[in-house]
Symmetry: C2
Subunit: 208 residues, 2 copies
DNA sequence: TAGATTGTTAATCGATTAACAATC
DNA sequence: TAGATTGTTAATCGATTAACAATC
């Protein structure tokens, strides 16, 4: 799909642009130059212009960028113009926390179901979303289109569950289990390794 | 402290090394070569050797690396040989999920208190840790040494609370609020921007 | 038009990979 | 010792920054 291959570094920054432009929009800022945006975001103006020009010329010489327009365009690039069906595997504390995060829904990520194997959780409802028996996941995937699955279970079971998800047709996995999943080509994985993040903090604390 | 400046890219990979070596240790693997480790971690052997040699020669020619020794040494580098006192600001779903994560404790991150301003949460206890009135945070920081503060409150209040934490002597912030904090020089911030992560997933889904 | 600021090319910087001598 | 694999230097690759012509 991508005409020119976009580097990972650029992709990583896109949500940050989107977020900052969203904040500017909330503050009713109409236009912004790469210079101003660079001060706000603590990056160079040059980088901003380079990044954006991977996707097209969104600005105008002598004027800068229209905040609303740029925000919309980056939203399109990020794929936020459609809805995504999401499920969460693991209805423990973290799974429930994600389920309660209403903010995701505003960006089009709609939670459809949760799964767990604990008897006392099965049948419960969180924000109207049912916790289903983990054993029925395979069947569920046959009957429903699922775009994204969040994995919030212990690392021991994560690789197996991830493979089951892939077999069921899921193409994107949001992995919170503290392990790196090795999945077939084409399956997208985004890791949220909380322990890693905490360790970087202790590293930085030590070396300051 | 650091003799030679270590690049951010290297630091980001350290916890991953630590995690993988921990797994190898669990499987009773005694020694490993950079080649084998590179296959497991999906990086190049060259990178592994370069990364490790930023900190010292942990290996032995013709033999490779002793798993247990290397694991310990990276733990030292990451600063995991001491205890860190942690507090969580915001006892909502995410804050509670973090509080229940016993894994952190094993690495030395000890939760000491939580804070919230919701009357119905104040006084409650999670894993023996009390939820205190957010208004008493300043006083608490005067009386207790706090190394790390996790911020799990809405983005509106995050900047103010972060500044209050810094004023109270906190030097490391684990920020879960979907905004970038601008704090004084020397304060370490680790962001966990869940929405950003989710957007990268939808971007990748779109472009596959 | 003059001033501002983009889009884009060129220069620099840094990180990754390759290669190999050192050495266990 | 011979073989294996590190530690480290050199080569390559890619990402960031600088510069400036194009243009609104």
């Amino acid at each position: 799909m991508a005409e020119k291959e976009i580097s990972l570094a650029v992709i990583k920054r896109l949500p940050k642009y989107y977020r900052n432009l969203g904040e500017l929009l909330e503050n009713n800022v109409e236009r912004i130059s790469s210079k101003e945006l660079s001060e706000r975001m603590q990056v160079t103006a040059s980088q901003i212009r380079q990044d954006l020009n991977n996707f097209g010329g969104f600005g105008q010489q002598g004027y800068g960028y229209n905040v609303e327009y740029l925000h919309t365009e980056i939203g399109k690039i990020l794929g936020l113009t459609r809805k995504y069906h999401m499920i969460i595997i693991g209805a423990g504390n973290l799974g429930q926390a994600l389920a309660n995060y209403t903010q995701f829904e505003k960006n089009g990520f709609v939670l459809k179901a949760m799964f767990d194997k604990k008897q006392e959780l099965i049948g419960q409802t969180i924000r109207g979303v049912k916790i289903l028996n983990a054993e029925t996941m395979g069947q569920y995937l046959k009957e429903h289109e699922v775009d994204i699955a969040a994995i919030t279970i212990p690392k021991e079971n994560a690789p197996t569950v991830a493979m089951d998800l892939v077999k069921g047709g899921v193409r994107a996995i949001w992995n919170f289990a503290p392990t790196d999943l090795h999945l077939p080509e084409g399956v997208k994985v985004e890791n949220v390794h909380l322990a890693d993040s905490l360790m970087r903090l202790s590293y930085n604390l030590k070396n300051s």
